[in-house]
Symmetry: D2
Subunit: 135 residues, 4 copies
């Protein structure tokens, strides 16, 4: 499964180079994986309410082209790795005319409410495994 | 007491007009009042750890001139009102050559850990009252 | 005309009180008025490309209740004042179950490319005047 | 040369996990390299005014531990690679008691005012080469 999320560029997301500031793509990656989880039937706010957090342990992004105010970008998110204690998501941010602007990934570690690394609980792991194309 | 806080403009804070985006002054107001509380000997993180929150109930800002990347601004903060259940802070953001860029205020309501409006606890109220020039 | 814009709360928009940080409503106001202009047939990126900016001169917000991650808010925007050199927009941010979370307004001054205050050009003024319920 | 920059955590930088949201470290990296350039005698705003941009082409960060509101972090920045058309900076973000919170790097490509990849102009290249420990 690849989840697509459309985001109109916010003026606040631009910078003095008249393009979207690079830090915002990291926030868009997050919006992308929240949408991915929602479509997979595992809303991330419910995951957290169950006492489990998929905290970010690594972020990587390559910037190939720029988005500007007035553009609407599409964030394409997929689950690219699934382990007993962590996951990896891959992202592509697509701009006008289907141009690839940014790609990247994030790694996440499962932690419990006290902040300790934990195994992803079996029901959640099963739901993630069932996603088409997972890991 | 007026607390002054120097902040170099971050590139991420600029927008496509090549000036600081207006939303960042609201964040600078917050940095200003955190500095105010620190100088008053009442660090806000300690206030929160005591179970009390001074949550924002109102924000007002007037934008008179712009800051740019490369500038360092000064946020001048004072406690302008003190009531049993809330406070008001006033702000001035000063740019290069002492120019007033933005002024404004925020109002805050005291709430307890369960989110209910509460009286400001007497020790904290006394500390706030003792600040020179308070409300 | 009242323009409604739906925004799922981003995790990045929350703060340590587990609610949306107050500065983000100012950014949502902006997203709301961009949506308003788009629906009015006057996309703001086109306004800027014509050499005119509606720069923010004043922001006001009252915070009545909180949004959280997992919520989707609706920003309701209307043009509440129209003058030869400026406009005012009013906003309501509505949360779950139709609850009013935040209301506020922004004032804007028309400036030209060199940063001088200017009259809103007649074609744009006419378009704004034609909006149902304008000022 | 390693440039150190002290940053008190802003409340707006925290998220609902009560720690600094991971996207802010990317903004802190930027503040770190701006400080690096300033100490190297090449303020980045002057570089831009000369018509040259060191645009971000890649970002990488590993998250090892968390910062919280009330903490002051130190960003340690060094120039780790210097090429005719680009540079790389490495970062460490240090928290309380000297704990390494996050490390990472950014790559930058030199572009001119029209957005084309360009050689770093010889005077700037010489200044960068002269930095102790550069690439």
């Amino acid at each position: 499964m690849i989840a697509e999320l459309s985001l109109p560029v916010r003026y606040a997301e631009t910078d003095a180079m008249s393009v979207v500031h690079h830090s915002n793509y990291i926030i868009w990656f997050e919006a992308g994986r929240v949408e991915f989880m929602r479509r997979a039937g595992i809303p991330y706010d419910e995951v957290e309410r169950s006492g489990i957090y998929l905290t970010v342990s690594e972020v990587h992004a390559r910037y190939l082209a720029s988005a500007r105010f007035g553009d609407t970008v599409v964030v394409r998110t997929r689950l690219s790795e699934l382990r007993s204690r962590g996951v990896r998501f891959d992202y592509e941010v697509i701009g006008n005319a289907g141009k690839l602007l940014v790609d990247g990934y994030t790694r996440h570690i499962c932690i419990d409410h006290s902040g300790n690394v934990a195994r992803i609980p079996e029901p959640l792991l099963a739901q993630l495994r069932a996603i088409d194309g997972a890991g």
